[in-house]
Amino acid sequence: MNRLGRRWKDFDFYILFTTVILMGFSAVTIYSADGGGPLTPSNLGVRQALYGSLGLAVMFVVATIDYRILGSLAWAAYGVAMLALVLVLVPGVGVEIAGSRRWFDLGFTSIQPSEFGKIATLLALAAFVASRGPAMRELGNFVISILIVLLPMALVFRQPDLGTSLVYGVIWVAIMALAQTRRRYWLAMLASTPVALFIAWEFLLADYQRRRWTVFLNPEADARGDGFNLIQARISIGSGGLRGFGIEGGTQSQLGLLKVRESDFIFAHASGMFGFIGMLALMLMFAILLWRCLHVSEVARDQLGQSLAIGITGMLFVQAFVNIGMNIGVMPVTGITLPFISAGLSSLWTFLIAEGILQSILIRRRKLAFQPD
């Protein structure tokens, strides 16, 4: 068997197929969320399909690159990302929408550096952990790992974008969970969590952020304010019933009552379209993807591969769960996109690049001893 053929034999088609299905689901749902109509690029769904096709090509390109090469470029990528995260905060450079400065406007689309920054941070942290190896047991290295993530977290928090900044924290937890550290560091982190939460709650969070954090427990108490969209989401999901309203979407979407239904609240919009059965199918797709992604870290040939794989998987699914949990009203409101489903180039490409890295790890996986090489 030639070298190339053996490589692609290890490519995971489950991951590819579930991703393509999710992207197709996404395009139809965004098309509907943007009001349907003729199939022209002015419709966000059509655009998303376009981004998706290009993004798949990007994913394949990333998959062909050895992830160890990516690892060696990690610090350069990290530097660029931090620069971008600083620049986006500068008025006039970053675009301010609804009180947050998160985007660069490229004319035809806008770019959200905090999305791509996740990949850069992930690479940097994984490269750091892999390069230190057993030396991660030293306190100094443990602290550095925290600082690597704390910098982008702080920058993203300044935008402000609490949800995305928390995703960076998740990346740290996922990668460090597999690193060779000392248990006592974790215990110390755990013990200091209440204090950190208290400080964050009292001094870092703005009033509106605090309100959003608790409003999901009783949205009716602020039905015209922060609870509004949660109530709309609930009606949208509930009225979808078993089978949903189909392509035109639920009633809350049609009159535009459900806000950000093409991005953060797309799950609620989709629930109105596809009903309980459709949403179960969607969650099944995520479950298959989850199973395949978790599997990657197990077969990775080195610690860099393991760290990257677990970091990517953790980021992907914590984000998916926090988003779905918010939509269905069992988790606090945080502005996080639903991977592969929410509209937007930055979010979609970030996850496609991440999957490209996963595939790269798989293609260069550890071989079993008895397998002839």
Binding site: L217, G241, S271, W291, G329
Partner: protein
């Protein structure tokens, strides 16, 4: 070796218990939360849901063999954590989309500041813009259709005699009633039809179109019933016996639905005036009496008592009863007023039904007993929801618990008084069932729904609802009802060329004039009965003089069809 096996068996047992216990606890907690529906607050439900995560994790936590390296162990555990969270989300979706779906969809909020009722504004917008389906009678006569004035959809009702069936559709005020309410999803095009075709239409940018309703109703017969009832308050139901198709469903006084339609600001004032006039009218024109009016059935109920007597073997049509003008029951004297001949004291069951002898039916009731009598009525649909295209008030055997423990009450119930309450529709399907060997077809108004281009989407299939009584008892009762027309008190119903059976009733209400009832059926001589009717005229007096001619003429008109 043995020790090892013993240990592994014990471990399996422990394992089994841990998993079972976790799963059971999970199902109990989540199941309780789901069953509690909206009796618990959202916050409490969310707490319960996350609480149920603990036993779920206990149930699915993987047992990793020691041979698996630490990495594999972590991955396995993470898989279970993530999958269990997905399961929790599925439970939450189950609650919102299935268990509570209805109450969430039809939720009406009250504005905490102004006190205004807030309905779902999207539904209103949709109602004002989409071409709602039309409603046609069985011959294609238009009963309701949508016209556009300045891009606003307005419902128009060209046929004045069918307002109590179609109801009204008024998106900005008053909502909807009648078929407009109960078939809203189809008329608005939300359900029914071809989902693929709808998706294609949507992709092509075409507005959604509603589906048309084709009724079994006959506008001509409906008009005739209106004319016959005239200014009197009452109702008439005409049915096809074999199919359960409703040909007329009249309630008087009725209303003009056009007057209640509000789709622009200018409509509001006249509609409010019309609505105020309708709601202040003591005769309640907005009530569909044929399906929602509850009346004592009076002597029309004797058909059910007679059929029950035959079906249970208590009597035959030629069984002789004594009626000398009065009967003592538990110290109460029941006086007979219906005997055509004061000298005659012995009467067959056939004669007793033909002349409506209360004393005889009181005796039959006592022979049957309260339980059997109540069961017989329930067999015909009493105390059940009649499946129908409009909401139907269930008929009641009695209102007070234990009422039928008293022999006087049983005797009164047997001849149609007591605490019996019924709707004209219930009496019509009773007459139809007697004419159909005891089988009651499911009554229906909607024959089919169709795409705007005329293509039929779904046809109502004729189906049996229930059996009222045995076939033999039904045939004997039908025969006695025909005897009543041809030889008894219902002579005015006799019409050459047809076989008509019937029963009148003069139902005492305790105050005011009694209600006049007629139920009956018609067919060609020697053939099966074809149509059944029930007519009530409130405070109309004698059934034979007031209700019978209306019902008879409807039956004959249906045959002439």
């Amino acid at each position: 070796m043995t020790a090892q096996r013993g240990r592994s068996a014990r471990e399996t047992a422990v394992l089994f218990n841990r998993r079972t216990l976790g799963a059971v606890l999970f199902f109990v907690i989540a199941g309780y939360g789901l069953a509690a529906r909206d009796t618990i607050t959202d916050a409490r439900w969310i707490a319960l849901l996350w609480l149920s995560w603990i036993p779920l994790l206990v149930a699915v936590w993987p047992d990793v063999p020691p041979t698996v390296p630490p990495l594999g162990r972590s991955v396995l555990r993470m898989t279970m954590i993530f999958l269990s969270i997905l399961t929790l989300f599925a439970v939450q979706l189950l609650r919102v989309q299935v268990v509570m779906s209805d109450s969430i969809t039809h939720r009406i909020g009250i504005d905490p500041v102004t006190g205004d009722v807030i309905s779902n504004p999207l539904l209103t917008n949709e109602a004002l813009t989409i071409p709602r389906g039309a409603i046609y009678d069985r011959d294609g006569v238009t009963l309701a259709r949508t016209v556009f004035e300045n891009d606003v959809a307005r419902r128009v009702y060209p046929e004045p005699a069918t307002g109590e069936v179609t109801g009204y559709f008024s998106p900005l005020l008053y909502g909807s009633s009648g078929l407009e309410a109960s078939w809203d999803d189809e008329l608005a095009g939300r359900t029914g039809g071809n989902p693929l075709a709808r998706a294609v239409d949507e992709l092509r940018g075409l507005p959604r179109r509603g589906l048309d309703l084709r009724l079994t109703l006959d506008a001509g017969l409906q008009r005739q019933a209106h004319a016959a009832l005239g200014e009197r308050t009452g109702a008439a139901v005409l049915l096809d016996i074999e199919t359960g198709a409703v040909l007329a469903l009249t309630s008087t006084p009725s209303f003009d639905p056009n007057a209640l339609v509000v789709v622009t600001a200018d409509d509001r004032e006249p509609a409010q005036a019309a609505f105020a006039a309708l709601t202040s009218d003591p005769r309640a024109p907005l009530v569909q009496r044929a399906t929602s009016g509850l009346y004592p059935p009076g002597s029309t109920f004797k058909t059910i008592t007679a059929a029950a007597a035959i079906d249970t073997g208590v009597a035959q049509p030629d069984t002789i009863y004594e009626d000398a003008g009065a009967l003592m029951i538990a110290g109460h004297t029941l006086v007979e007023q219906n005997r055509p001949n004061e000298q005659q004291t012995l009467w067959s069951l056939t004669e007793s039904l033909a002349w409506s002898l209360n004393v005889v039916f009181a005796q039959i009731g006592l022979q049957l007993g309260g339980d059997t009598l109540a069961q017989a009525a329930r067999g015909w649909g009493w105390d059940s929801d009649i499946p129908f295209d409009l909401p139907v008030e269930p008929s009641r055997v009695s209102v007070t618990p234990g009422f039928l423990d008293n022999p006087v009450a049983v005797a009164e119930t047997a001849f149609g008084q007591g605490e019996l309450l019924t709707t004209p529709l219930q009496m019509a399907i009773t007459a139809a069932g007697i004419g159909n060997d005891g089988e009651i077809m499911r009554p229906h108004l909607v024959a089919s729904i169709a795409e705007p281009d005329g293509e039929t989407v779904r046809e109502t299939r004729t189906s049996r609802w229930r059996r009222g009584t045995g076939p033999e008892a039904a045939r004997q009762t039908a025969g006695m009802m025909i005897f009543a027309v041809e030889n008894g008190a219902l002579g005015t119903a006799f019409t050459p060329g047809y076989t008509i059976g019937g029963k009148t009733g003069t139902a005492e209400t305790g105050s005011g004039d009694p209600h006049a009832w007629f139920i009956g059926f018609i067919g060609l001589p020697g053939e099966e009965p074809r149509y059944a009717v029930a007519v009530i005229v409130e405070a109309g007096g004698g059934g034979g003089q007031v209700a019978l001619p209306i019902g008879r003429d409807l039956l004959i008109a249906a045959m002439a069809g």
